[in-house]
Amino acid sequence: EAAVTQSPRNKVAVTGGKVTLSCNQTNNHNNMYWYRQDTGHGLRLIHYSYGAGSTEKGDIPDGYKASRPSQENFSLILELATPSQTSVYFCASGDGTGSGNTLYFGEGSRLIVV
């Protein structure tokens, strides 16, 4: 079974502080994604990556940066956290091959910005 692990699982941050959410996958998948999930919105794509060294903007990138230092690791960075970034964040990996790009998700990171 595919393995995607996120840390921290829960985080309380202060407004203006820096937050880093980390994601590690052991699937050797090329593609990794960061989503946030808010009630009534499903999951929305923030940033994604094709592979080590690559980061691309998703649908709602403002206020977020991403880093993919290796195949296994993909981080989401909030340089100046705001209360509107209170959400549950999901990382996912996928192999992106043809039409079989099933995504495998981590268990989510709950962030509260006060």
């Binding site: 999951l43 994604y48 691309e56 992106g96 039409s99 790009n101 995504l103």
Partner: protein, 110 residues
């Protein structure tokens, strides 16, 4: 704009009954994936379809790219089926970007 319209937003089922969830797409999608978010917050893969139907136990899913919809049927609902169900669809690019529905919160009642 929103590309995936999921319905219903909430659903209550008595144990042993069944129902269907539906996602309509505003554009042509090449594949759909269904997930269930369990009580721990994990997103569990249920189905991936590029066409046709798939069945797994009490769950069955269908995807019609031409008609722009997908369904998830649940039969003989059990208490452990409770959770939020999401569909997600992609246009088939190698990047695999998925567009998610807003979710259906299912409560199974004893």
């Amino acid at each position: 704009g929103d590309q995936v319209e999921q319905s219903p937003s909430a659903l209550s089922l008595h144990e042993g009954t069944g129902s269907a969830l539906r996602c309509n797409f505003t554009t042509t999608m090449r594949a759909v994936q269904w997930f269930r978010k369990n009580s721990r917050g994990s997103l569990i893969n249920l189905f991936y379809l590029a066409s046709g139907t798939k069945e797994n136990g009490r769950l069955k899913s269908a995807f019609d790219s031409k008609e722009r919809y997908s369904t998830l049927h649940i039969r003989d609902a059990q208490l452990e089926d409770s959770g939020t169900y999401f569909c997600a669809a992609g246009r088939g690019s190698a990047l695999g970007r998925l567009h998610f529905g807003a979710g259906t919160q299912l409560i199974v009642i004893p």
